[in-house]
């Protein structure tokens, strides 16, 4: 390595020496000094959160020896005086626009652009008027997102309301969820505990929240069947949430005296420390049924294989697609992605919750239709570029905000 570096250094010396020698000879007569831009305009970026101004300039026809543009700004203070010039950006000569960000959204600014070359800079060209980066009421570029959210929510709410009005809501069988009652019953018969793991993430992960909602149903069934349910958690907040949930379920099942808070315990935040505990516990206590419902990473297979070796019935659910193969391979039942998200609604059996599942389906139907339309347009656009289809595809992407 030393060799390479010293060679490089030697080359650099040679280059410098050469430059020094040539300098008087080859001060090329062809290269004129950099020419300043013809005009500079600055405009507030519309429909944004404020603080950004877009600056554009028209370069002169003959750029001279210019290689970069130097864009500067000057803030006009409350007393009306202009502040010092501060660099906004140095951009390549091919560019003619840039955006100044992080500006105050109350103060006006002047801008100027200078062409810079190896042999000096041009005189600066100033923007004709000062500009303020206004903060707008609504972030315009998020309008497509806003409408997408509105559409999805409308689908779900529409079907919830329809269900309330008594429209029958049919939902297909989900084998994994039908198996829950049996699995809990099995634990009661065998006199062994049920193990419920709500993933290893904290309450700011929606999968953990979904896992806790499933725990609400499972623990209610467990309370009714008089089975013991153990919930080791890897986060203190999840322990708190699980305790609230299970306690309320026991209360709802009419057996508040059977609730034991110590069965829901915090182990450790450390992923594999938690797994070490749970797998040791499994081998020793031999739970009859294991539930894994939440966000899982690598530990999924350690848990599922240990559970398998002790002959437990295992029901898993996660939206973590990288872990699905392991649950599919080692568990008796697995809720794949969206099925897991639907579990709580399905288990509740309440019409309005079932209605929300139908709303999800409507969302999928819309996505499918969009995909088909998009694919057809893209195909035509590929066959005849630049035609109507290309424009339509662009419009569709625009509506969707990407």
């Amino acid at each position: 390595m030393q060799i390479i570096l010293s060679v490089a250094a030697a080359r650099m010396c040679a280059a410098t020496a050469c430059a020094a020698l040539c300098a008087p000879l080859c001060a090329s007569p062809s290269a004129s000094p950099p020419t300043p831009p013809l005009s500079v305009t600055a405009a507030d970026v519309p429909w944004d959160a404020g603080g950004s101004i877009e600056i554009s300039w028209v370069p002169a026809a003959n750029l001279g020896s210019a290689t970069t543009w130097l864009v500067e700004r000057s803030e006009i203070g409350a007393d009306g005086t202009s502040g010092p010039w501060v660099t906004v950006a140095e951009v390549a000569i091919a560019t003619t626009t840039t955006t100044a960000a992080k500006l105050s959204h109350t103060a006006p600014y002047w801008f100027r652009v200078t062409a810079v070359g190896s042999d000096g800079s041009s005189s600066p060209t100033n923007s004709p008027a000062h500009t303020t980066a206004h903060r707008n009421f609504f972030i315009g570029e998020k309008l497509p997102l806003f409408s997408a959210i509105l559409t999805v929510c409308a689908c779900v709410i529409y079907f919830i309301l329809a269900a309330r009005k008594g429209r029958p809501m049919k939902v297909r069988r989900i084998a994994a969820l039908e198996a829950i009652d049996n699995a809990v019953g099995r634990a009661t018969e065998m006199g062994r505990p049920i193990l419920f793991v709500a993933g290893i993430q904290d309450m700011d992960n929606i999968q953990t929240v979904a896992g806790i909602t499933v725990l609400g149903h499972v623990s209610k069934t467990a309370a009714e069947y008089d089975a013991t349910i153990e919930v080791p958690t890897s986060r203190s907040l999840v322990m708190e949430a699980a305790r609230e949930t299970v306690q309320a379920s026991y209360l709802a099942a009419g057996r508040p005296e059977a609730y034991n808070a110590d069965l829901i315990r915090y182990i450790t935040d450390e992923q594999f420390g938690f797994v070490a505990y749970v797998s040791g516990r499994m081998v020793r206590e031999k739970p009859a049924t294991c539930f894994y419902m939440g966000c899982f990473y690598a530990e999924s297979l350690i848990l599922a294989e240990t559970g398998n070796s002790i002959g437990a019935i295992q029901i898993a659910g996660t939206a973590e697609s990288s872990q699905l193969p392991f649950f599919v391979a080692a568990c008796d039942y697995t809720l794949i992605g969206e099925e897991f998200m639907a579990a709580s609604a399905y288990l509740s059996g309440e019409p309005d919750q079932m209605g929300s599942l139908k709303g999800q389906d409507a969302g999928k139907a819309i996505a499918s239709v969009l995909i088909i339309v998009g694919v057809v347009l893209a195909t035509f656009a590929a066959l005849s570029p630049g035609g109507f289809a290309t424009a339509a595809l662009g419009a569709l992407r625009g509506i969707l905000g990407s």
């Binding site: 297909r172 309450m203 450790t268 420390g273 070490a276 505990y277 599942l357 999928k364 990407s402």
Partner: protein, 338 residues
């Protein structure tokens, strides 16, 4: 003793004997060394506390590879710059013990594993508690509520908090205190309030992020032409076009079929049933691929642990040149003995 049990007993005995032999043939193993580093820092005078400028010195010991120790010893047997490190050597042996203890769980649950389990629960829970204190509570909470204290004692270059930060952190403190009401003899129910806040906020935030980042983006990404002419210098090439078009078609069909599988309100019969079944096939291929890739990673992890045992602890191999000559001797003598 049944047949398999006897076989296992023999295997374990062989491993123990081999370890014993390795320990007795010498050539060194499981030792760690560290190098002395004298540190010096200038403390400027402080007019507020009336302390003059002074220089503070202290000694640090940094772990080094054994070859550095060997070289130093060869050069000067009396040197004290690089020395045998008791703490790191003990640590190395403890680490090796825990590694073997966890591996022994594969055979069956035993006292060694239970010890490792008990240790890791205690250590790691506390570890994350300490991290939470120094990395979250100190800079964020205390840094916002009592910035001058934090700057004066712990983090001198912590920037002053903005008003918004102070408000947010006060709010966080209130939530935390409400949560701790759980420990109070009465009023434990109030701890459901901060929980409700967290769950509500999570739900609200995730709708936005999932629809923005996943739903819309992935839908748009599927807008692929079913016939995708591949041109080289303006001329359409037949085979690349066929392959690219086939790939696009398979992706589009796959996405639609898999989505069909997830439909809840339609029974999987007839056309829907066939599409859903195709969807399941796609999912199975997806899962198979993920499985195959994961195996790679897991084997690398196991290899790293075994390298730790063979290299750092037993000094059987020296692929990274940590010890150079000395180790070759021990490995060869081991092989000869074998």
């Amino acid at each position: 003793m049944s047949g398999p049990t006897r076989t296992w007993a023999i295997i374990i005995a062989v491993i123990i004997v081999l370890l014993g032999v390795r320990m007795s043939i010498g050539g060194g193993m499981g030792r760690a060394y560290s190098q002395r580093l004298e540190q010096k820092a200038e403390v400027p005078a402080n007019s507020q506390t009336n302390t003059p400028a002074r220089t503070i010195t202290w000694t640090e010991w940094h772990a080094v590879q054994p070859k550095i120790y060997f070289a130093a010893q060869r050069a000067d047997p009396q040197q004290t710059q690089v020395a045998f490190s008791w703490s790191d050597t003990i640590g190395l042996w403890i680490g090796a013990f825990f590694t073997l203890a966890v591996f022994s769980f594969l055979y069956r649950d035993n006292a060694g594993y239970r010890l490792a389990e008990a240790v890791i629960i205690g250590v790691s829970a506390a570890y994350w508690g300490v991290i939470g204190f120094w990395d979250t509570l100190m800079p964020k909470l205390f840094g916002a509520l009592v910035p001058s204290f934090v700057q004066a004692h712990v983090m001198p270059s912590l920037p002053n908090p903005s008003t918004a930060t102070v408000i947010a952190m006060t709010f966080a403190l209130v939530l935390g205190v409400l949560l701790l009401m759980r420990l109070a003899p009465k009023g434990g129910w109030i701890s459901l309030w901060p929980m409700a806040f967290i769950i509500g906020v999570t739900a609200g935030l995730k709708i936005v992020s999932h629809i923005e980042g996943d739903l819309v983006a992935q839908t748009v990404a599927t807008f692929k032409p079913l016939i995708s002419p591949q041109r080289i210098e303006g001329v359409v090439e037949i085979w690349p076009t066929v392959w690219a078009s086939l790939a696009n078609t398979l992706v589009v069909v796959g996405v639609l079929c898999c989505l069909t599988y997830f439909f809840f309100s339609v029974d999987h019969k007839g056309v829907v049933g066939r599409a859903a079944r195709t969807g399941i096939m796609y999912l199975m291929i997806t899962f198979g691929a993920a499985f195959g890739f994961t195996v790679m990673g897991r084997v690398a992890l196991l290899a790293a642990r075994i390298e730790f045992l063979f290299d750092d602890w037993l000094w059987l191999i020296d692929p990274a040149g940590k010890r150079t000559i000395e180790v070759a001797a021990s490995a060869v003598s081991m092989l000869c003995w074998w």
